[in-house]
């Protein structure tokens, strides 16, 4: 069961066939997409006051830990958003990439 679940994004997208540096690069890019999608949704949810506070926070300390600590306090379903965006990217990428070069 775990092995099935563990059919990970790296294998699915064939990233594991690349040299190490390229693997890092590819995952960094995919992570950046999820990060941005999450942030976009977060910005849609935050109140104006929270947004102001968040803006000040990232000006002062753009550390991801601090940012996510803040956001998880303001957005109870933050983890769901992250899951959804990561899953969306994985699902979409898989669906498309599996159809290419069949």
């Amino acid at each position: 069961m775990f092995n099935e679940i563990n059919k990970n994004i790296v294998t699915t997208l064939g990233i594991n066939t690349l040299p190490i540096e390229k693997q890092k690069e590819a995952m960094e890019r995919l992570g950046a997409i999820v990060y941005q999608e999450v942030m976009l949704r977060v910005l849609n949810i935050l109140t104006e006051e929270d947004k102001d506070e968040f803006e000040k926070l990232i000006e002062k300390d753009p550390n991801p830990e601090t940012m996510f600590d803040f956001l998880s306090q303001k957005i109870p379903n933050l983890s769901e958003i992250v899951k959804e965006e990561a899953e969306k990217l994985r699902g979409e990428s898989t669906e498309i990439m599996e159809e290419i070069g069949k």
Partner: protein, 838 residues
């Protein structure tokens, strides 16, 4: 045409005939002019025009006729100019030709070259040509036959710009054989056909791209409508649920059964069918684009002779890089960009700035966290983040704060179990090494000093391992807290896998993760500020590099890793980043200028690895030995390179072909292995030829480079190599890259010949091209750098690639040095390297 002595008067015979022909044309034009004047006057009078009006008409005609006359006169003048072309055949050579009709091959080849390049011949050359026409034509034919590459034919035909009609009309003047004419026509027809095919392909591609664009726009429009509403509803629902459950808990304090708020928001409630339809359409368009790219690449690779498993592997890599980038990453980025509304602009910019400022390890750690949070839904990142093991753990720390449920796993319990297997292996290896060492010592094969040093090293490894175990358990305990049970454990296992073990493996969920490769100690407190900033940055000599080039690559990778954030970097990292690669190479004993054997002999696959503590380890692929050159606590070199040195050039490269590997079947197995394990370097070994000793090849290359050699033959041999074609699809071969590097060095020496003294190039090589372009635009460019900037423009023009700028994905822009190297490699791929040689 007869060959032999010719009278001197004949040398200009052809010229005189041409002049006479043009003069007769002038007479003809004059006659025509007079006839036309008479006709105009007659017509004008018949139409009732005044003399003045008729004169105007005549003036107009006159202008036209005069222009034709002027044109004819220019032709004569041009013909005359051939008489004044600089003579490059010496009196002695010409006398030898006149007296004995002896012509050196060099002179004949020069004439052939001039004819092929459309250049005018000097009078002596014309005479020689007249006396040796058949010989010269033969040489031209031979030369043409060698050009079988379609691209070259196409390129040559484009240069000539002659249509079949023009060839037919000028058949006499061109003075070529029927065979050549036919070949020329066929070549043109083939070019036309290929051109048409290209145009059709281009048209098809534009059509697909348009489809992607339109479907994306449609999808984005619909998606935005729905997502916004769903997020709003979800937040309301969460708040409602929390309130309800508190109230329910209060009401049921005497009840064993907890009442849960049941309502859940489902995406299908908010995402309309229209969104789904548009998304499907968009996905279809992207699949079409991907398949088109795939088909184009496949055709290209097949054309270059690739087939079977090699073709499959090359295509898989192309798919995982270019196609993934084009159809997924770039498309998603466009969608994201389209979602940035005006009111979000300011905060979005700050978010991105913050992201860009993160060092790479932190960005990768963040990615780890994001995918790890999603691990509960079956997403995991695999071992790709292994190099960031500790960072990943820390990243998960904040990742875990996002997890609902707060199930604290018992992961630390698993550590000893997991380590047990690795321990056994480690202990066994240690024991064997010690035993072997003792035996050697007892046989006096190693001296006491060396023996003690080696034993000390082994003991240190054991101590480090024990310390790591303790800290790892602490780290895992902290990091795992809050992650949902086995899913998280599983994902973490992935995160801990070393990249080397990644190939084709998934996590062994029975035995747990293999953390044998972990060399680094989690630090108490475990926050991203305090953890070691990387676990392993590597530079591998898989591109034909020598020590200097390898150090340069390591510097580049470290810069990407750390960005400007060097405060927490080990001293050794800072020393490496701040020091000239050549100097470092000397410090490590890998480059000893002035000595006969001046350069370390670097076997392909050897590597420099900077571990998380800042220890710099050189691994020699040839011997399998590793040596710690530097330890992280300071900038001193602790151990010097003690391997073989070579007397090639200071790049000191040797391919990974040992005597044993020269046996064909073993080469086969190596090659196969390299294809399967794609993170390993791909070697350029031609299976059809017995490999020559590489030392001499490299020596020759270096020698040839020093002598400004014509490398055309070299390129041909590279192009003709079957294996090279594999690599061509995914990059250049090792040999090609080395060759390009030599060209790079030669070009830079040409641009900055005094660099050794005044460091003109050293001063700007790490700057970004954009800075120079800006200074140029502002008119403030120093004369010293004008040739460099012109060269940068030329590289852009020929290769059509631009210097990489800072992006969200890679905040470190490309330097002048990196861009020039990359552009030269691209030129090599395109077969245009000659055009960018200086």
């Amino acid at each position: 045409m007869k060959e032999g002595k010719i009278p001197k008067s004949e040398k200009t015979k052809g010229m005189e005939e041409s002049i006479a022909k043009v003069e007769s044309q002038i007479v003809e034009l004059n006659n025509k002019k007079e006839k036309e004047r008479a006709q105009i006057i007659e017509k004008g009078k018949n139409l009732g025009f005044s003399d003045e009006e008729i004169n105007k008409l005549l003036t107009g005609e006159q202008l036209e006729l005069d222009s034709k006359l002027i044109q004819s006169q220019e032709e004569i003048n041009n013909k005359d100019k051939t008489e004044t072309i600089e003579e490059n055949i010496s009196d002695e050579e010409y006398k030898e030709f006149i007296d004995n009709n002896n012509i050196s091959d060099n002179i004949l080849n020069d004439i052939v070259d001039k004819i092929k390049n459309g250049k005018q011949l000097s009078s002596r050359e014309l005479a020689i040509h007249a006396a040796n026409t058949s010989n010269i034509e033969e040489k031209i034919k031979e030369s043409d036959k060698k050009i079988q590459d379609n691209e070259k034919v196409e390129s040559a035909t484009e240069k000539i710009h002659i249509t079949n009609d023009e060839i037919e009309n000028n058949k006499d003047q061109i003075n070529v054989s029927d065979d050549m004419l036919r070949e020329g026509k066929e070549g043109n027809e083939k070019t036309d056909r290929e051109q048409n095919e290209k145009e059709l392909e281009q048209e098809h591609r534009s059509h697909v791209e348009k489809k992607v664009e339109e479907s994306r726009e449609e999808y984005t429009k619909e998606y935005k409508k729905c997502q916004s509403e769903m997020d709003r509803q979800k937040l309301i629902d969460k708040t409602r649920a929390a309130t309800f459950n508190i109230l329910a808990g209060v009401k049921n304090i005497f009840s064993k059964n907890k009442i849960e708020y049941q309502k859940s928001i489902k995406p299908e409630d908010y995402f309309t069918d229209k969104v789904k339809e548009t998304q499907k359409e968009y996905n279809r368009a992207r699949i079409e684009m991907g398949n088109l790219m795939f088909a184009e690449k496949k055709a290209e690779l097949e054309k270059s002779g690739l087939s079977g498993k090699e073709l499959e592997t090359a295509l898989a890599k192309y798919k995982a890089t270019e196609i993934l980038t084009k159809t997924i990453v770039e498309e998603r980025q466009k969608i994201i960009d389209s979602k940035i509304t005006n009111e979000k602009q300011a905060i979005w910019k700050k978010l991105l700035d913050g992201y860009r400022k993160m060092p790479r390890w932190q960005r990768v750690a963040l990615s780890t966290a994001l995918f790890t949070v999603a691990a509960g839904t079956g997403i995991a990142t695999g071992g790709v983040f292994a190099g960031y093991g500790l960072a990943s753990m820390a990243a998960m720390k904040f990742g875990t704060s996002m997890m609902m449920g707060g199930i604290v796993g018992n992961a630390t319990k698993g550590i000893d179990l997991v380590m047990k297997k690795a321990d056994l292996k480690f202990n066994e290896e240690q024991d064997n090494t010690k035993k072997e060492l003792k035996e050697k010592f007892s046989k006096s094969e190693v001296d006491q000093e060396e023996y003690e040093k080696e034993i000390g090293r082994l003991e240190l490894m054991e101590k480090k391992r024990a310390r790591n175990r303790t800290l790892l358990k602490a780290g895992v305990g902290i990091a795992i807290a809050g992650i949902a049970g086995h899913y998280a454990y599983d994902a973490m296992g992935n995160g801990l896998h070393h990249v080397d073990s990644l190939q084709g493996s998934s996590v062994d969920t029975v035995n747990g993760p293999d953390i044998n490769h972990i060399q680094h100690s989690p630090v108490a407190g475990l926050t991203t500020e305090h953890i070691p900033q990387h676990i392993s940055i590597e530079a591998t000599a898989d591109h034909g590099q020598g020590s200097i080039s390898m150090i340069h690559e390591l510097q580049h990778n470290l810069k990407i890793e750390y960005g400007n954030n060097l405060e927490n970097a080990p001293e050794s990292v800072r020393h490496i980043i701040d020091t000239n690669p050549e100097q470092l190479s000397q410090e490590f004993g890998m480059y000893k200028p002035g000595q006969d054997a001046e350069s370390a002999m670097i076997i392909s696959g050897s590597s420099l690895t900077m571990d998380g503590h800042g220890n710099l380890i050189y691994h020699d692929q040839g011997t399998g030995n590793s040596i710690t050159l530097m330890e992280g606590s300071d900038s001193n070199v602790d151990h010097m390179y003690g391997g073989k040195m070579s007397n090639t050039d200071h790049s000191g490269v040797e391919n990974n072909i040992t005597d044993e590997q020269k046996v064909p079947e073993q080469i086969d197995s190596i090659r196969e292995e390299q294809i399967d394990t794609s993170d390993k370097p791909i070697y350029s070994i031609n299976l059809d030829q017995k490999p020559e000793p590489v030392d001499s090849d490299i020596g020759e290359m270096a020698e040839e480079n020093n002598n400004n050699f014509d490398n055309s033959n070299q390129e041909k041999s590279v192009i003709g190599n079957e294996n090279t074609e594999i690599e061509k699809s995914v990059g250049l071969s090792e040999e090609s890259i080395h060759h390009v590097h030599l060209i790079y060095e030669k070009n830079m020496n040409h641009l900055f010949p005094e660099n050794d003294f005044n460091h003109e190039w050293d001063n700007v090589k790490d700057k970004i091209p954009g800075t120079l372009f800006k200074i140029e635009d502002e008119g403030g460019l120093n004369d010293t750098y004008k040739p460099l900037v012109s060269y940068l423009h030329k590289l852009q023009e020929i290769t059509n690639i631009r210097p990489r700028e800072s992006t969200i994905f890679d905040p470190i822009p490309e330097t002048n040095e990196e861009y020039i190297e990359r552009a030269l490699q691209k030129a090599q791929e395109m077969g245009q390297l000659d055009k960018v040689k200086l």
